[in-house]
């Protein structure tokens, strides 16, 4: 929100190194002969170094922080650099957040927000679990759960795109009601699961890699390509950047937003299934609690403004891994969970400061 792109000039800078005569008043039109095209030309100035640093910090700040933390752990944490630690602790824990953050990044890109993801996770998880426990085939259970999650997204999107409800309010409805719906599905009881087919996404390790990590990578790559290359991706940026202008340019703004919320819903549903599978229990009370905030933090820490018009999928993934690694590092160093949370907050503030918008 600061509109100051540069630091204040120091008093020393007030002395120009040469004061050509003739720039002062009254010399008439002759002074700038031939200067007419200069305004668009880019030249390198003395401040280029600083400017490039700030652009760099905006773009790669989160990645640099992740790298630094990684190197620190590689040196200071025993067994950190083992596949067991990296794949099965860090990435496996970060994968669900990353998947939800991808959907969240798209919704935020349209200028919205999705608070309902945690509750949608719970609903989808319960739907899948109940169907499997009821003897339905695993594939059917998964598809049904994803369909229900998509409908949740459709509900959010309809409120936002067709009825113009503010996104934070629209998705707050399912945030509250969704948890209740999830509890109604299973009657609020914790039910143990054991169905290897259904639990593949939470427990399997093809090629020695946890399935959820593979899923997260696939989701991120597909979303990244879609946002970068397709017309839909461009539309998200346009609608998030200026919805009125987009509509007047003939863009289907309502459909663009609707699809963003459906995507977010489906991805949340997918993660709901992962959560239920991984814990081998359907737990309507605890599945996905706090996920909306983790996902928003992951998106924000990578420098995506919540005002919309910008989407970085790699940023959301890096943000998710960064926040998870930060927590794990602090806890492994004996810092209490409470203090770890405070530090996490401080890191988000730092990231936002580095990435503050320098639009005049």
């Amino acid at each position: 929100m600061s509109s100051r792109p540069d630091t204040p000039a120091s008093p020393a800078a007030a002395e120009p190194d040469g004061q050509p005569a003739g720039t002062t008043a009254g010399t008439g039109p002759g002074t700038t002969a031939g200067g007419a095209t200069a305004e668009g030309a880019s030249t390198e100035g003395g401040r280029g170094g600083r400017v490039r640093w700030s652009v760099w910090a905006q773009r790669y700040g989160a990645l640099a922080a992740l790298a630094a933390l990684f190197v620190y752990n590689a040196i200071a944490t025993p067994y950190f650099l083992t596949p067991q630690s990296l794949l099965f602790i860090l990435l496996r824990q970060a994968a669900p957040i990353a998947i939800v953050a991808v959907g969240m990044a798209i919704v935020i890109g349209t200028g919205g927000i999705d608070l309902s993801v945690g509750s949608v996770m719970a609903i989808a998880g319960q739907v899948g679990a109940v169907l499997v426990l009821g003897g339905q085939p695993a594939l059917l259970a998964v598809l049904a759960a994803l369909l229900v999650a998509a409908l949740c997204g459709l509900f959010n999107g309809t409120l936002v795109a067709r009825f113009g409800v503010q996104p934070i309010i629209a998705t707050l409805i399912l945030f509250i009601a969704g948890r209740g719906i999830a509890q109604l599905i299973t009657g609020g009881e914790l039910q143990p699961l054991s169905n290897p087919d259904f639990q593949w996404i939470g427990l399997a390790r093809p090629l020695g890699v946890p399935a959820q990590v593979i899923i997260a990578v696939v989701v991120a790559v597909v979303a990244w390509l879609v946002m970068r290359l397709t017309v839909y991706g461009r539309y998200v940026l346009a609608v998030g950047g200026n919805e009125t202008a987009s509509r007047l340019a003939g863009l289907p703004a309502a459909r663009v937003k609707l699809l963003a919320y459906v995507t977010s819903g489906v991805l949340a549903g997918l993660v709901g299934l992962i959560a239920v599978s991984a814990t081998s229990a359907s737990d309507a009370n605890n599945t996905g609690v706090g996920m909306e905030l983790d996902a928003i933090a992951a998106v924000a820490v990578a420098g995506t403004p919540l005002t919309g018009g910008k989407v970085t999928i790699p940023g959301a993934v890096v943000g998710a891994v960064l926040l998870k690694l930060l927590q794990n590092t602090l806890i492994s160093k004996g810092v209490t969970k409470e203090v770890a949370q405070i530090v996490t907050g401080a890191v988000i503030v730092l990231a936002l400061w580095l990435q503050r918008q320098d639009t005049p």
Binding site: P16, A38, T43, R247
Partner: protein
């Protein structure tokens, strides 16, 4: 002038990302004068003001204000020192009351709480000083733009300003509001307050300013007394070249093509905004839509473009009646619309020139759902060159371009879709003389190549210079139509004021078609009827 100036800026230099915006600029304002600051868009006026008021830090130079050297760290600090700025878009809080806006950030307090009684009384007193009698407890957005601007001015006065900077204060005002503003400006001057006045309208400069500073390409190129500089000299100094002769307006010599109209809108009604508008545009024709503020010009454009729903009336595109439910429908039928407010309705600020330009074309650049970047790049390069968009590269964010260049990109957004009809709502408002002429020439050339253009402008000069035919609106209805050499400023003003087109009172509805509703409903409740019947 024997007194030291109130404000003296010397050798001011400022760069953005290595691109110089101000080069060794000098600028002086005397106490109690109204000083015009002019220049094309991109000449550096806004940057100079922002450097002065502490929005930007300068790279080099020296500023003296009121006898002391200053470097304001923020606009707030500048305000405290007696330097207030009123921006083009009024920077106030629409949902708070007028009084709160006057005292925003400096609310009178008692025991740590806001002293509402005193705040309302003082705000009302200041506004009365400006001859404005409003209920200061009502929210600001209840009032017209002019009143909001007066509120901003009252705010400046309440801070005991010594210098008030007004950045294009008149661009959103109606004529009589402009007169009120001028009266207030003169009153300020008489009280010893200096005013820096930024405007593109020459008439206004001569009406109210004492001296003028001209900027071009980030430099000050002239500082003169208003009385000593002719209009011609002013414009040519601003452009930095001998002013090319007035836009040669070869009308398509009422050779209005016989083909069916590209657009035929008949008897449009919508709420209180549109009360029977009919207008048609044929290929190769520029049709002007004239009328006072609130006469329904923009509303007509939006209705024809599908942006607002109609209560009744028909729209036919290329002879086929259509129901346009959204701008998307209109775009698919070959209609483009460049809205009046570039910033809020036109550009996507953080996207590049390339993305902005191809926004409407994107569906056609799709191959298997993926944007064909190579074709996109070719098209953008072609239009950047053809229209003369000044940008460092097509990847530059559009928000960094000057108003005139933004407008060129928005025109290209439609032109690259190869439209049949282009609706231009105030296409040259707030842009500099050079870009304005470029756009006027471009539109004429496109019309000569067969494009149909519906042109809205509140500048009569522009309508007279550009339009082949003019439909005049008054109170939401089309009341007169002028063609060819009958289009003069006098005739237009007469039509706008009385609803009669000088001698040839023509109801446009009966001209373009014969709708039963149009003329029939007119005499009942139209106060302009008297003037329209000879």
């Amino acid at each position: 002038m024997a007194d030291p100036p109130l404000l003296s800026m010397q050798g001011i230099t400022k760069q953005f990302l290595g691109v110089p915006a101000l080069r060794e600029v000098s600028f002086e304002v005397a106490r109690g004068e109204v000083h015009a600051l002019i220049g094309q868009n991109g000449a550096g006026k806004s940057t100079l003001i922002k450097v002065l008021t502490g929005v930007y830090a300068r790279d080099a130079g020296r500023i003296e204000f009121d006898g002391r050297e200053v470097a304001f760290p923020s606009p707030h600090a500048a305000q405290l020192a007696g330097l207030s700025t009123i921006y083009q878009e009024v920077n106030l809080v629409p949902f708070r009351s007028v009084a709160e806006n006057v005292f925003l950030g400096r609310e009178p307090k008692r025991l740590g709480l806001i002293d509402w009684g005193r705040m309302n009384r003082e705000a009302a007193a200041i506004l009365r000083r400006l001859d404005l009698d409003v209920d200061v407890t009502r929210p600001l957005h209840d009032y017209a733009i002019a009143t909001q601007q007066m509120t901003a001015l009252a705010r400046a006065l309440s801070t005991a300003a010594k210098l008030v900077i007004m950045d294009e204060p008149t661009s959103a005002l109606a004529e009589q509001e402009v007169q009120t503003l001028f009266r207030v400006i003169r009153q300020l001057r008489d009280e010893g307050i200096a005013v820096v006045f930024v405007s593109h309208r020459l008439d206004e400069l001569y009406a109210v300013c004492d001296r003028v500073t001209v900027m071009r390409d980030g430099r000050t190129v002239a500082q003169r007394a208003m009385a000593d500089i002719s209009r011609y000299e002013l414009v040519s100094t601003m452009l930095g070249r001998e002013l090319a002769e007035e836009l040669a307006h070869r009308r398509s010599a009422d050779a209005a093509p016989d083909g069916p109209p590209v657009l035929e809108a008949t008897d449009l009604h919508r709420g209180r905004a549109l009360d029977g508008v009919s207008v048609s545009v044929r290929p190769g024709e520029i049709v002007g839509l004239a009328g006072l503020l609130g006469s329904g010009r923009t509303e007509t454009a939006r209705a024809v473009f599908g942006a607002d729903p109609l209560d009744s009336g028909t729209v036919a595109v290329a002879g086929t009646p259509v129901a346009l439910r959204s701008p998307r429908d209109a775009v698919e039928r070959g209609i483009g619309f460049a809205p009046e407010d570039r910033k809020t309705e036109g550009i996507i600020p953080q996207l590049s020139v390339r993305e902005n330009m191809t926004l409407a074309l994107l569906p056609h650049l799709r191959r298997h759902g993926i944007v064909d970047r190579r074709r996109q790049g070719e098209i953008v390069d072609r239009f950047v060159t053809a229209i003369g968009v000044k940008c460092s590269s097509p990847e530059q964010p559009i928000r960094e371009l000057s108003g005139g260049n933004q407008q060129k990109v928005l025109l290209a957004r439609w032109l690259c879709t190869d439209p049949k009809l282009l609706i231009l709502d105030e296409p040259t408002r707030g842009i500099d003389v050079g870009a304005k002429r470029d756009i006027q020439v471009l539109v004429r050339r496109l019309a000569d190549e067969g494009l149909a253009v519906l042109l809205i402008s509140s500048e009569l000069e522009e309508i007279v210079a550009d339009a082949d035919r003019v439909v005049t609106l008054r109170d939401g209805r089309s009341v007169a139509e002028l063609t060819g050499d009958d289009i003069t400023e006098d005739a237009l003003m007469n039509a706008m004021a009385t609803g009669a087109a000088a001698d040839t009172a023509v109801d446009s509805a009966s001209d373009t078609a014969d709708p039963p509703a149009g003329p029939a409903t007119a005499p009942d409740h139209d106060p302009t009827t008297a003037g329209r019947q000879p």
